[in-house]
């Protein structure tokens, strides 16, 4: 373990969240849980990014009364990236949810194993 673990507490938490989401996505049989895990994963990455941009003692990157110096504002880039990322994740979530609805209409269940079993049985 390196020296900065405690200083990077936030990043560490975001990594743990990332892995929780990953495990949800891998382990749960229920699609809704999978999707929630996906969302958790994404927002943990965004948390990581936002922490990267944060500088203690600096303020929001909105120019107030003409002060334009680097040591007044935090780094604006990660915020922009996160804004883009949130859009992507909400679109993906909507897509996954609609897929879920269709799947349920077709098979009356959300368990992929059972669905593949039924497919094997129907043989189509």
């Amino acid at each position: 373990m390196g020296p900065n673990l405690w200083a990077n507490f936030g990043e560490a938490v975001s990594m743990i969240l990332f892995c929780i989401g990953f495990a949800n996505l891998l382990l749960h049989k229920n699609l809704i849980k999978k999707i929630i895990g996906l969302n958790i994963m994404d927002s943990s990455i965004y948390l990581f990014l936002a922490l990267k941009g944060y500088i203690a003692g600096h303020t929001v990157p909105i120019v107030v009364d003409g002060v334009q110096s680097v040591d007044a504002y935090i780094n604006p880039i990660p915020s922009g990236l996160v804004l883009t990322g949130i859009v992507v994740s909400v679109s993906v979530t909507a897509l996954m949810l609609s897929l879920t609805i269709r799947l349920y209409r077709r098979y009356q269940t959300l368990d992929l194993d059972e669905i593949s079993k039924r497919l094997k049985k129907e043989g189509l």
């Binding site: 809704i32 948390l47 944060y54 915020s79 609805i101």
Partner: protein, 88 residues
Amino acid sequence: MTLFQIILLIFLVICAVSVSFSKNLVRSIMEFMAFSLIMSIIWLTLESPDLGITEAAVGAGVTSILFFVTLKKIHAIREGNKNEEADK
């Protein structure tokens, strides 16, 4: 990193874990909403209110609504209430 932020982060972890533990889908989605709200607060404390507003509007707002509609579509909500009654 202030104590406040640390507490919020711990809340975040708790929410995430309880999402994956809770049996009831409605409950887990509630917890996910809480997760998003805490996340937006954290972003506010991280001096990036853009993200805070966006996350509050999207993560806690629209996404959760979509989740609930989906739950209704897959007949989980009614059953879930029944289960809770059964638990009582």
